[in-house]
């Protein structure tokens, strides 16, 4: 099986990968910030966020602040573990020489 097959298909999408990369070092982030930073549309971003939420990788909170709707996203522990695993798999693909020993075992 190639390393690409091992990659989590839920993260193997540029927008979802970007979302999780932004969420990794933060406690929470606003929907608008995600949209502007990734450079996508409301609808597209919502679709990807919903997929990640259904997988339990993120939590979405909707509230009103100063009478204005505010949507924030947080990475769950499951999402954090999946992202770390994903990066490790990518690294295995980029530096296969580092994994020869572990593969033999």
């Amino acid at each position: 099986m190639s390393t690409f097959d091992e990659l989590d298909p839920l993260i193997h999408s540029r927008i979802r990968l970007s979302i999780l990369s932004i969420l990794m070092p933060v406690k929470e982030v606003e929907f608008v910030y995600l949209k502007e930073t990734i450079g996508t549309t409301d609808g597209n971003l919502s679709t990807h966020l919903t997929k990640l939420e259904e997988a339990g990788y993120i939590t979405i909170k909707k509230e009103f602040v100063n009478k204005r709707p505010r949507t924030t996203c947080q990475l769950s522990s499951k999402g954090r573990a999946a992202f770390i695993q994903y990066v490790e798999t990518l690294n295995k693909f980029i530096h296969p020489e580092n994994n020869d020993d572990s593969d033999k075992k």
Partner: protein, 201 residues
């Protein structure tokens, strides 16, 4: 129409790593410190030092505590209001910001304990107060420098430790003057540079 941005089949692992780095870097720069806290506390404390000197020279030495008991709580109130307003505007809350704020709250609370409890109860002599405060500021500056990855703030921590050492070696009458110089070099200068960096971003 397909969203070109989400065509992942052409992404190589190296490109994916690049995307991860780009997004993390963007978020890091978005959440840069504004320098507000350094400027607020720096100017308030410097004003406190100057007022103490004016009171002492004017013959009101017994009122020397007055600037501190008014300016420091005032700064705490202004900061609380500012941060409560900012938290509503902030679009991103990073763990780095949480760590840095918690550290300053812990050091600030310790400074208030020293100045407003330990000193009046005579647990700590007046001659040691500035030294203890300098050491607490050094810890906060140095650690924040590492958290936000900014060397100048790490050096600022060094300035405060050097200030503490210098104060241990001279008569305590000089402490307030040394403290005022340290405030300019180790607090206001980094504060203005941080502000400049923040406004540029």
């Amino acid at each position: 129409m397909k969203d070109e941005f989400d065509q992942t089949q052409d992404l190589k692992p190296a490109d994916e790593i690049k995307v991860i780095r780009q997004m993390m870097e963007k978020t890091r720069t978005e959440t840069a410190e504004s320098g507000f806290d350094f400027l607020l506390w720096g100017w308030m404390a410097l004003a406190g030092c100057i007022l103490v000197y004016i009171l002492v020279f004017a013959g009101y030495e017994r009122l020397a505590w007055l600037p501190w008991i008014t300016l420091m709580p005032l700064a705490a109130v202004i900061e609380t209001i500012y941060h409560s307003r900012q938290s509503k505007k902030n679009r991103v809350l990073t763990y780095a910001r949480i760590a840095s704020r918690s550290l300053w709250i812990a050091c600030g609370a310790s400074m208030f304990l020293v100045a407003f409890l330990a000193l009046p109860l005579k647990v700590i002599p007046l001659s040691s107060m500035s030294i203890v405060l300098s050491i607490l500021i050094a810890i906060a500056c140095f650690t924040t420098g590492y958290i936000i990855d900014w060397n100048l703030l790490k050096y600022s921590g060094g300035i405060w430790w050097a200030t503490a050492i210098l104060m241990m070696l001279v008569h305590w009458h000089w402490h307030m003057a040394i403290f005022a110089v340290a405030l300019i070099l180790g607090y206001l200068v980094p504060g203005y540079l941080l502000r400049k960096k923040y406004l540029r971003k």
